[in-house]
């Protein structure tokens, strides 16, 4: 028995449990691969202060219906040669896991898992072309050793000429299914464009004659959130013990002050006193029971909220731009909430609503109170699904965490729960109990946080913490109020329009009656009717 006990490599673990990372089926595998690569590209560009220009291609492989080649190319800073194998070939290698900073990726599993999946299903590892400014581009082919979690470069070639001055291209062939519709790659790209109006995306998929280009509408690279130290409230016991062991502080009090945010001498003193420990204890000598007492003391202490400078919300203006760019709605309402905290992690919620008036007609009121009716201008039909549903469909909710669209597990997501428990009837929408409201509209929810509480590593749904649900609801209510005002006004205008039509139908008969009794000339009759109409409309200003 003992001889059969041995270490399991993370790569082997993944090979057997790939559903945990979003590779459960060929359709999802394609999406996850592209998603991880695009997330990385965006993070890299923003880190370097570059406006992302990203190309996504899905190419069929001749004679192999169940395999596709995907390529994701960015104009990011590029990756130095030494880092390439680790970033793309080693699971759990990354810069983001240990930092308390808002970014798309978190663990450093995604892109290497995609490479591993590609290699497992087609035998070929990923290919990477990357170029750092003022250097020559390199072309690598990687092969992963899943037992040792160690990547090998099987091909390394310096390219004399590459069309980008800097950037990275990730390419791999994998077993996949390409489908359109909800939760597809098409959907993901479109939603990414909504939440990232500063990025230009070019997307080519099988069946398309021309690539779809999502132009950037904003020329501002989002500010990066600052990196922060952990907040005491958010640290679990195991993590606390690990931090105690690893700290470079010599005294317990300085450990608390240096390794956490928002802990000053006074707070440190009160925590240590509450835990019954000495300020001058050596952190590395704290026993497990003492650490437990310390952990409990932390929870009892009064510590101010973590700084929110670490957060980088999209911003009301950008959300508006994104929604306007990708939906053909009549009304938009957005709300960015002030930052809040769950379990010591700062976060910020944003909500945007795009709403289209049911029906094909559009009513305009001019300065004189005249109402004119026009056919709604039809924008070119989108190749991807229209985000706004039909007037009698449940409204779609677009969920984003740190600007990344969440495409599946909608029902179990905290955002959805918050949307369902919001009373949309107050805002002019229909809603039956326990379901999403109905209408030709879309609701966007974005959570910016240094640590997004996903329910699984596949990053598909947000855990329903009370603090998060509350913030989402408040944001929805604020945006909803604006929508309600608009809908009510629209209803007023359309009922006014009907009334004026009604007036127009009968006013001539008032004229005829007068003409017959008073023997008026036809022109006099017309003048009288016109005069009456003008008088009536002027008394009915909206």
């Amino acid at each position: 028995m003992a001889s059969s006990q041995r270490e399991i490599s993370i790569s082997e673990f993944f090979a057997k449990n790939r559903h945990l990372l979003g590779f459960d089926n060929p359709k999802k595998a394609l999406l996850t691969t592209i998603k991880e690569a695009v997330d990385n590209s965006m993070d890299a560009c923003e880190e370097a202060g570059i406006l992302p220009e990203i190309l996504v291609e899905i190419m069929p492989i001749d004679g192999q219906e169940d395999r596709f080649k995907v390529a994701i190319q960015d104009n990011g800073p590029g990756i130095v040669k030494a880092q390439v194998p680790n970033i793309f070939g080693k699971l759990l290698y990354g810069s983001k896991f240990h930092s308390r900073r808002q970014s798309r990726g978190q663990q450093g599993i995604g892109i290497s898992a995609a490479g591993l999946y590609a290699q497992m299903t087609t035998g070929k590892g990923p290919e990477i072309i990357s170029r750092v400014k003022r250097k020559k581009a390199h072309h690598f082919v990687l092969q992963m050793d899943s037992t040792k979690n160690k990547p090998m470069i099987t091909h390394d070639e310096e390219l004399d000429d590459w069309h980008l001055k800097h950037g990275t291209r990730f390419e791999c062939a994998l077993e996949a299914t390409y489908k359109r519709g909800k939760g597809s790659v098409d959907d993901y790209i479109k939603q990414t464009a909504v939440a990232n109006p500063h990025a230009s995306l070019t997307y080519l998929a099988p069946g398309m004659e021309e690539p779809i280009v999502y132009e950037a509408s904003s020329r501002v690279v989002p500010e990066r959130g600052e990196e922060i130290k952990p907040h005491p409230y958010g640290v679990e016991l195991g993590e606390l013990i690990k931090m105690l062991r690893q700290t470079s502080s010599r005294w317990l009090s300085s450990f608390l002050k240096e390794d956490f945010c928002r802990v000053g001498p006074k707070v440190a003193k009160s925590i240590i006193a509450e835990a019954g420990l000495s300020e001058k204890s050596y952190p590395s000598r704290i026993a497990r029971e003492e650490a437990d007492a310390l952990h409990r003391a932390i929870q009892k202490a009064k510590i101010s909220s973590p700084p929110t400078t670490c957060l980088s919300p999209i911003g009301e203006e950008r959300i508006l731009e994104g929604l306007q760019k990708e939906t053909d709605a009549d009304f938009y309402a957005v709300c960015t909430r002030p930052p809040s905290v769950y379990r010591g992690n700062p976060f910020q919620i944003e909500v945007g609503i795009a709403w289209a008036k049911p029906g094909d007609d559009h009513l305009d009121v001019d300065g004189d109170g005249k109402i004119t009716k026009s056919k709604k201008k039809k924008r070119g039909t989108f190749d991807t699904e229209n985000l706004l549903g039909n007037a009698d469909d449940a409204i779609r909710i677009l969920r984003f965490a740190n600007r990344v669209p969440l495409l599946s597990q909608q029902a179990s997501c905290g955002f959805t729960k918050a949307a369902i428990s919001t009373s949309w009837k107050n805002y002019g929408l229909q809603q039956s109990k326990g379901s999403m409201p109905v209408g030709s509209a879309v609701i966007l929810v974005h959570m910016a946080s240094v640590w997004v509480p996903f329910t699984s590593e596949a990053k598909e749904a947000i855990a329903p913490y009370d603090e998060i649900l509350k913030e989402v609801r408040l944001a929805m209510q604020e945006a909803g109020r604006k929508l309600g005002v608009h809908i009510r006004k629209g209803k007023k205008i359309s009922s006014e329009f009907q009334k004026r039509n009604y007036i127009d139908a009968f006013l001539p008969h008032v004229g005829i009656g007068l003409q017959e009794i008073l023997k008026l000339e036809p022109e006099v009759r017309e003048d009288t009717v016109d005069m009456l109409r003008a008088t009536l409309e002027s008394t009915r200003k909206i």
Binding site: I503, H509, V510, G513, E516, T528, M531, T535
Partner: protein
């Protein structure tokens, strides 16, 4: 009490003789007729339209003013004897809600003006069909055109111009009449007098025309009975009750039409005959049929003055009659709509509120919780009503409910 006296009374009633000696006469009504007021009517219509025209062209919204037509806009005084209009006006100002009715009112006024000028007429039904040529402004149902006609009638009643002068006629004719009465009508073409003897109608009856002011009368009768149902009228006519009792019978068939009300009024006023009303003992018979005949209605407040019979009294069937004539087992329970109507009358009807005897009687009916039809007397035999009930009641006519 009824059962004991039964035989004696029967003899007395049947012995009564027709007495042609004391004949009373009446010529046509002095009320101004359509020909006297035609010019005034046309001018009044023009005035209203001109006012609308002038206001419209001054950049204001035109209005038409007319009396409110409901029970809240009538007052009742025992001395005057009928529902008088209280003077509450409704103003129909041109706006989105009123534009359709406003247009229809003007167009019906135009129709009236033409009819007055040409001395033609339109029934309410015909007026409704005329509107079918108006496109959007046409009436959907006759109920709508009737309501606009009533408004027009109300509006012009302020200038003493009636619906008849405006040449609108109701569809329904008046009720039927038999008895000791001769009606003197005129041939519309030749102008010759035509005499109708209501005692010589065989098994039929004289029909009250829609307009009665031009009629003359001769009678030797002692009183008039206004009857609710055709069935009872036929029974009394068949057995020539009017001959034996020396009276005139008027069939109302439910709530009396204007013509019936005006006709009965003229008999009451011009011939000085008492009018006894004989209806079912239920809230409809009392609060609608009898009340409207005696004092008029809220909806026609503007014409009540000439279209009701203030001298009429209520013979029966009274709630007390149910007890006195032992009809308890020939009754039906009051329906919720009956109870509502009765309570409404006690609360809102100025006529009943002015008469403690009526309050007592209606409360008694509500307490008994039953209603009785005229025909219920058939329980004691088909002709019990002729032989027993009517003679017994008429003997005590001064005790009839007011």
């Amino acid at each position: 009490m009824a059962a004991k006296k039964k035989k004696k009374v029967t003899k007395k009633a049947t012995k009564r003789k027709f007495a042609p000696d004391k004949v009373r006469k009446a010529g046509p009504s002095k009320r101004k007729g359509k020909n006297d007021l035609s010019e005034v009517a046309i001018e009044s219509i023009k005035d209203v339209a001109l006012d609308v025209f002038n206001v419209a062209n001054s950049g204001e919204l035109p209005e038409m003013v007319m009396p409110q037509r409901n029970l809240k806009n009538v007052t009742y005084d025992k001395k005057t004897g009928y529902f008088e209009m209280a003077g509450n006006m409704k103003t129909r100002r041109l706006d989105v809600n009123s534009v359709k009715t406003f247009a229809q009112t003007l167009r019906l006024m135009s129709l009236a003006k033409d009819m007055v000028a040409d001395d033609d007429f339109a029934t309410k039904r015909e007026a409704y069909y005329v509107s079918k040529n108006w496109g959007d402004a046409k009436f959907g149902e006759q109920r709508e055109s009737d309501s606009v006609l009533d408004d027009i009638e109300g509006m012009f009643s302020l200038k003493d111009i009636t619906r008849e002068i405006l040449r609108f006629r109701p569809e329904e004719h008046g009720g039927s009449v038999v008895g000791a009465l001769t009606v003197i009508d005129r041939d519309p073409e030749t102008g010759d007098a035509i005499r109708s003897d209501c005692a010589a109608m065989g098994s039929g009856a004289y029909t009250i025309p829609s307009s009665v002011d031009h009629l003359g009368f001769e009678t030797s009768a002692d009183f008039i009975i206004a009857i609710e149902t055709g069935g009872m009228f036929q029974r009394l006519n068949h057995h020539r009750y009017w001959r034996n009792a020396n009276c005139i019978l008027v069939e109302m068939s439910g709530v009396p039409t204007r013509a019936t009300r005006r006709f009965t009024r003229r008999l009451s006023q011009d011939l000085k005959l008492p009018v006894y009303v004989f209806v079912d003992c239920d809230p409809y018979g009392i609060c609608n049929i009898y009340r409207t005949l005696k004092v008029g209605s809220g909806a026609s407040a503007h014409i009540n003055k000439d279209f009701c019979v203030p001298e009429a009294t209520f013979m029966g069937v009274t709630p007390q009659d149910i007890i006195d004539f032992q009809l308890e087992d020939a009754t039906h329970p009051l329906l919720p709509v009956d109870i509502k109507r009765a309570k409404d009358a006690l609360k809102n009807d100025p006529f009943f509120k002015a008469h403690p005897k009526w309050i007592k009687a209606i409360k008694q009916m509500l307490k008994m919780g039953v209603r009785a039809e005229q025909q219920a007397f058939a329980k004691w035999g088909l002709n019990f009503v002729i032989e027993e009930y009517l003679p017994t009641k008429i003997k005590n006519a001064k005790n009839f409910l007011p």
